[in-house]
């Protein structure tokens, strides 16, 4: 295989495996497939986004050599940016809520990233607000800002979506987790070109009370790259349902995935029940490794064990 001859780990980003999930499918007439994004070099789909955003900024000339990067991220995007930044020679600062799991912080530090904590009680919106403020105050920082960077959905248009379109002759439903909206917008658009009747379905986290941390609804945040009118379904998934999905994936298909993947599986099963027949593709954004220290795996009350953190 030519992949064995890659000159850089960055060349190993993308071209992830697509595997059928026959034991998980609720009926033989519905074929379920999973795109295993945990197989990317740092273990998540965000490798695609980080590489695309940095390359786009280098190409446009916005990102001069050695300039410091700043990004609000509670994990995967930061880790992916840390990899790309290290190999391309940029220092990196990540802004993240103080209650992010230790594995993520440790990995970021090992890659050489600096971490700035935003208040845990302000959740991810707090990290976004703080990062925007820091970037405004210090113009020497370059913020890729995955929420508004067109290179994010484009990475999924050119990569994730194109790879699925090349691998399958038919796709009726695409299910992916909703975070920035990058996967759903980019892969959704690319797959709609090949399969015009496709339904693009988002699995969205039901946040715990304590992480909503907003003084008013006006403090809410809708990522500029997300156009909800391009989604056909937008399904709310609780933490309990996500973990149930993770356990099914492990027990039936032997796949150890991250929390958002459990939500994607839950949503995919809901959609599959409604179909008489068809092909459903699930994008599983990361592996389960970065969640091993989390309490929910062994907790009787999964909801309580999860409600104080943001999971995707």
């Amino acid at each position: 295989m030519s992949r064995a001859l890659a000159l850089s780990v960055l060349d190993l980003i993308g071209s992830t495996p697509l595997v059928e999930l026959p034991r998980l499918s609720p009926k033989p007439s519905v074929r379920l497939y999973a795109k295993l994004e945990g197989q990317n070099p740092t273990g998540s789909i965000k490798d695609r986004v980080a590489k695309a955003m940095i390359e786009a900024a280098e190409t446009s000339g916005e990102l001069e050599p050695g300039r410091r990067l700043l990004e609000p991220t509670s994990g995967n995007t930061g880790i992916s940016l840390a990899l790309v930044a290290r190999l391309r020679g940029y220092p990196l600062t990540c802004v993240m809520p103080a209650n992010v799991t230790e594995e993520r912080r440790r990995l970021l530090r090992l890659y050489g990233a600096e971490i700035v904590d935003s208040p845990a009680e302000e959740g991810s919106n707090g990290a976004v607000r703080l990062a925007l403020r820091l970037a405004e105050r210090d113009p020497s920082l370059y913020m890729p800002f995955q929420y508004a960077n067109a290179a994010n959905p484009r990475a999924h248009y050119d990569g994730t979506g194109a790879e699925i379109a090349a691998a399958l002759e038919r796709v009726d439903v695409l299910v992916a987790g909703l975070g920035t909206g990058g996967t759903l917008m980019g892969a959704g658009e690319r797959l709609r070109e090949s399969f015009p009747g496709i339904a693009v379905a988002a699995a969205e986290p039901h946040p715990g009370d304590e992480v909503m941390g907003l003084r008013s609804l006006a403090d809410g945040y809708v990522p500029p790259i997300l156009d909800v009118s391009k989604l056909d379904r937008k399904l709310l998934v609780t933490n309990e349902e996500s973990v149930a999905g993770l356990r099914l994936l492990l027990e039936l298909e032997g796949i150890f995935a991250g929390v958002s993947s459990g939500a994607v599986i839950h949503a995919a099963l809901r959609v599959s029940e409604e179909l008489d027949e068809g092909v459903v593709v699930c994008v599983l954004a990361d592996g389960g490794w970065k969640y091993l220290s989390a309490e929910f795996w062994e907790s009787v009350d999964v909801g309580a064990a999860m409600e104080r953190s943001i999971w995707w």
Binding site: P72, T73, S74, G75, N76, T77, G123, S124, N125, A127, V128, Q146, Y147, G177, L178, G179, T180, G181, G182, E204, P205, H206, P207, D209, M212, L214, R215, S216, L217, A218, D219, G220, Y221, V222, P223, V228, S229, L231, D232, R233, K234, L235, L236, V237, I310, W311, W312
Partner: protein, 90 residues
């Protein structure tokens, strides 16, 4: 009657309740019923006759923006969930 779940950011406007009951045959009518009883909610939920952009409303666990919006029919005993729009995408 539909059950309506209120997020922490809106509880002050409804006397601290986490959940309350409201009447209406559509999501829009359920929200109107709420706003009549708790007028401070109006500015938070509705903007120029449309659902405010920073609020998400779910019926049966599905965002009404991918259903029929405020015209989405509500049946007795269903649960409407109100949530703030939040940045995800770790």
């Amino acid at each position: 009657m539909a059950a309506v779940r209120i997020p922490p950011t809106l509880r002050a406007e409804v006397g601290g309740l986490r959940e309350l009951e409201a009447r209406g045959e559509t999501v829009g009518a359920v929200i109107e019923d709420l706003v009549e009883r708790y007028p401070p909610l109006a500015g938070q939920l509705i903007s120029e006759g449309e659902l405010a952009s920073f609020v998400n409303v779910y019926l049966g666990g599905e965002d009404i923006r991918t259903l029929d919006g405020l015209d989405t029919p509500v049946y007795d005993g269903e649960t409407v969930i109100l949530l703030p729009a939040m940045a995800g995408g770790v």
